[in-house]
C-alpha cells in the first residue's frame, strides 16, 4: 500500500512550503515534490505605477531581503532612465548591499541552518533551534546578536532606514555619507569583520569536519551554476556580468539585460513557482536527478563555483582552500553553507575597504532623471541568488510590463531534485524517524530558500493547489489553501 509522508511546514525557511514524499509498496521513496503554497501577484500590482516608485515598493515584497530588491529595482530604474550613478552613489549602494549580506549570512548560518550542525541533525527537535544554540553556547549567542545589531545600526547610519529602505533612487543614492558618519560606521564594520573571521574558523574547526560525511551524502545532484562576476572573473554581488556554467565547468558570460536569451522559465501544473532553466544549452528541461537537463543553481555555492577568484585577500585564501578540497564546480549541496561563509568574509572585507575609500563621502551621489519609454533590467546577487528586475515604461515613465526572477526561483528545480535525492538516501523500506525527516529538510535549507517572495501568480485566477499522487501518478486528493 502506498504511504505518504508529509512534512509541513518546512520550519526555519522563509515562507510556506510543503514537502510531499510518496513511498511505494516497499516503503521506498517513489516521488517527492516541494510545493509552494503562497501567491503574490506583485508584478500585476505594479502596472501603471511610476517606475521611480518601484525601489520603494519592492521592499514590501518580502521582509527577508529588502535591500536586494531595493537595489535591483534602483538599477533597473537607472537603465530605464538611461543614467549612470556617480561613483559615490554606486559605492554607497554597494556598501549597503554588503552590510545587508553580512546580516543575512550570519542569520542563516547561526539561526536557520546552524542549529542542524551546531546541535546535530539527530538532536531532539525541541533543542535543534536558535534557542537551543543560545542555551548550549550563550557566549556565541551574544556575539551573534551583537553583530547583527551592528549591521542594523550601520544601515541606519548609512541609509537612514535598515528595514524597508528608501535611499537608493533612480540615478544614485539620495543620502551622502558624511565623514563623521563614516568614522562612526568604520569601527563597527571592523568588528563585524573580526566576527566573520571567527565564524569561519569556528565552522572549519568545530562544525564542518564533524558533518563532512553528511555533506558528502545529502541531497547531492549534478547541475550547472550561475552567478555574477567582475570583468576579471572575481566574484561580484552588486554589479557585473552573469556567468552560466555547465556541469562540466565550461561557461559563457553575458550582460544581465540579455538574461532572456539564456534562461527560459517553465511552468509545472503542480507548483506556482516557475522553473527557470538554461535554454542556451539547447537540451530542454528535466528534473530527473540522474539525467538532468538545463538545470543550474544559484546562491552562494554557485557564485563560488563560477568565480575565478575573490577580490579580497582573506576570502581569496578561503576560496583557494575550498576549491582545492572540492574542485570546480563543487556539487555537494551542503557546501552552500561553507560557500556562504566565504562570502560572509568577502562582504565584511569589502565593507571595510569601501569605508576606507575617500570617494565614499563625496556629496555627488545622484544624477537627475527624465521619464521616457524604455526597458531597463537591473540585476544584483541577492543572498539567495541572482535577482533580476525587468521593467518597461511608456513615455510618461509609467510601468507597462514587469518581470522579476528572484534567487529562490532559479533554485526551484534543484531544490526539488535535492529533496528527492535526500529522501531516497535516508528513507529505506519505510523506516524513518525525526532525524531522517530533518535531513530532508536540511537539503532544502542549504539553498536558504525564501519561497514567499519567489512565488509568482501565474494566470491571475487559480488558487493554490496541492495534489496528492498515488504510486501510478494519479491524483488522489487535491488540497486548496
Amino acid at each position: 500500500m502506498t504511504k505518504r509522508i508529509v512534512i509541513q511546514p518546512v520550519s526555519r525557511i522563509e515562507g510556506h512550503a510543503k514537502v510531499v514524499i510518496q513511498l511505494d509498496d516497499s516503503g521506498n521513496v517513489q516521488d517527492t515534490k516541494v510545493n509552494v503554497v503562497e501567491l503574490r501577484g506583485f508584478e500585476k500590482f505594479c502596472l501603471g505605477r511610476p517606475v521611480e516608485e518601484m525601489p520603494r515598493i519592492v521592499t514590501s515584497i518580502c521582509g527577508v531581503c529588502p535591500w536586494s530588491h531595493h537595489l535591483a529595482s534602483a538599477k533597473a530604474n537607472d537603465a530605464v532612465f538611461g543614467v549612470t550613478p556617480p561613483p559615490a552613489g554606486r559605492k554607497l549602494r554597494e556598501l549597503c548591499n554588503h552590510i545587508a549580506y553580512t546580516e543575512e549570512h550570519i542569520l542563516h548560518f547561526f539561526f536557520l541552518a546552524g542549529p542542524d550542525f551546531v546541535m546535530g541533525p539527530d538532536a531532539d527537535y525541541s533543542v535543534r533551534n536558535v534557542i537551543g544554540i543560545a542555551q548550549a553556547n550563550p557566549e556565541l549567542g551574544k556575539r551573534v546578536v551583537r553583530n547583527r545589531h551592528l549591521g542594523a545600526q550601520m544601515l541606519d547610519i548609512v541609509s537612514g532606514k535598515s528595514i524597508h529602505p528608501v535611499t537608493a533612487v533612480p540615478g544614485g543614492f539620495s543620502k551622502p555619507l558624511t565623514v563623521k558618519e563614516r568614522d562612526e560606521v568604520l569601527p563597527m564594520a571592523e568588528e563585524v569583520l573580526e566576527f566573520t573571521k571567527f565564524t569561519m574558523a569556528f565552522a572549519k574547526e568545530s562544525i564542518f569536519p564533524k558533518y563532512l560525511d553528511t555533506v558528502k551524502q545529502l541531497g547531492v545532484i549534478q547541475t550547472g551554476f550561475m552567478g555574477t562576476v567582475r570583468e576579471d572573473g572575481a566574484l561580484e554581488l552588486y554589479d557585473g556580468k552573469l556567468r552560466l556554467m555547465k556541469p562540466d565547468g565550461s561557461f559563457e558570460d553575458f550582460a544581465y539585460d540579455r538574461y532572456d536569451e539564456f534562461i527560459a522559465e517553465r511552468v509545472e501544473d503542480w507548483s506556482y513557482l516557475k522553473f527557470p532553466y538554461a535554454k542556451s544549452w539547447g537540451e530542454g528541461f528535466s528534473m530527473d536527478a540522474d539525467h538532468p537537463k538545463g538545470i543550474y543553481r544559484v546562491n552562494s555555492l554557485a557564485r563560488i563555483n563560477v568565480a575565478d577568484k575573490m577580490a579580497t585577500p582573506l576570502a581569496q585564501k578561503e576560496f583557494e582552500e575550498f576549491r582545492a578540497q572540492f574542485g570546480r564546480p563543487a556539487q555537494l549541496t551542503l557546501l552552500y553553507h561553507w560557500a556562504r561563509l566565504i562570502e560572509l568574509l568577502y562582504n565584511a572585507e569589502r565593507m571595510v575597504e569601501l569605508l576606507h575609500d575617500p570617494e565614499i563621502t563625496s556629496t555627488e551621489t545622484r544624477v537627475p532623471v527624465t521619464p521616457r519609454a524604455a526597458r531597463g533590467v537591473g540585476c544584483v546577487e541577492a543572498p539567495r541568488g541572482s535577482l533580476i528586475h525587468d521593467y518597461e515604461t511608456d513615455a510618461n515613465g509609467l510601468i507597462t510590463n514587469v518581470n522579476l526572477i528572484v534567487g529562490t526561483t532559479h533554485n526551484n528545480a534543484p531544490i526539488n531534485m535535492s529533496v528527492n535525492r535526500a529522501a531516497k538516501a535516508v528513507i529505506k523500506d519505510g523506516k524513518y524517524d525525526q532525524g531522517i525527516l530533518n535531513r530532508v529538510e536540511m537539503a532544502i535549507r542549504a539553498y536558504d530558500p525564501c519561497l514567499s517572495c519567489a512565488t509568482h501568480y501565474l494566470d491571475g485566477r487559480l488558487a493554490v493547489r496541492v495534489d496528492v499522487l498515488d504510486a501510478e501518478g494519479r491524483v488522489r486528493d487535491t488540497f486548496k489553501n
Binding site: 520550519s11 526555519r12 525557511i13 543560545a134 542555551q135 547583527r148
Partner: protein, 162 residues
C-alpha cells in the same frame, strides 16, 4: 518610548500591508505609536514583514521583555473584525503555523519564547474579512473598524501589568 531591546513590554505588529487585512498588525502598531498614554516601559514595533528579526534577536538576547504582545490577522471563521486576546497556548496548533504569511519561523518562536525563555506572550488577533491571494493593499471596513478596539485592548493589557 523604550527601545525594543530594553523594553519591559513589547508590542509587535506583524503582517503584510500589501495583502488586504493582513495589514492589521502594522495598522494597530501605527495607531499605538501615536498614543501619548503608552506606558514608558513599553515599546511598539511596526515589524511588518521584519518580525522574524525582532523575535530571533529577543530569543537569543540576555535581556528580554517580560511580556510580548503579538498583533496579527487570522482566519478562524468568526465574525469579521472580531478582536481576540489570547495566551499563546490558547492558539490552535494550526494557527501556530499559519498566523500570517511570513510568520512560519516566527510562529514557532512564539511558543519557544514562551516555553523556553519564560516570556509572557499575548496574541491579539482580528478575524479577517478580506485576505486576497494576490497583492491588494487596504483593510476591509470591518477590520479597519477593529483597529481602535484592538489598541484599547492592548493598552488595557499594558495597564494591568504591575
Amino acid at each position: 518610548m523604550a527601545d525594543y531591546g530594553n523594553a519591559d513590554v513589547l508590542v509587535v505588529g506583524c503582517g503584510n500591508v500589501l495583502f488586504g487585512d493582513d495589514g492589521f498588525g502594522p495598522a494597530v502598531a501605527e495607531r499605538l505609536e501615536q498614543r501619548r498614554d503608552l506606558p514608558s516601559r513599553a515599546c511598539v514595533v511596526n515589524a511588518g514583514l521584519g518580525v522574524r528579526d525582532v523575535l530571533f534577536t529577543i530569543a537569543v538576547s540576555e535581556r528580554r521583555p517580560k511580556l510580548i504582545v503579538v498583533v496579527d490577522a487570522v482566519d478562524e471563521g468568526r465574525r469579521p473584525g472580531e478582536v481576540m486576546v489570547r495566551d499563546v497556548e490558547e492558539i490552535p496548533e494550526r494557527e501556530i503555523g499559519d498566523l500570517s504569511m511570513h510568520l512560519l519561523p516566527t510562529s514557532h518562536l512564539l511558543r519557544e519564547l514562551h516555553d523556553a525563555c519564560g516570556v509572557a506572550m499575548k496574541v491579539v488577533s482580528v478575524q479577517t474579512h478580506y485576505l486576497p491571494d494576490q497583492v491588494s493593499p487596504g483593510l476591509s471596513d470591518a477590520v479597519k473598524g477593529a483597529v481602535p478596539l484592538a489598541c484599547e485592548k492592548i493598552l488595557d493589557l499594558l495597564r494591568s501589568r504591575p
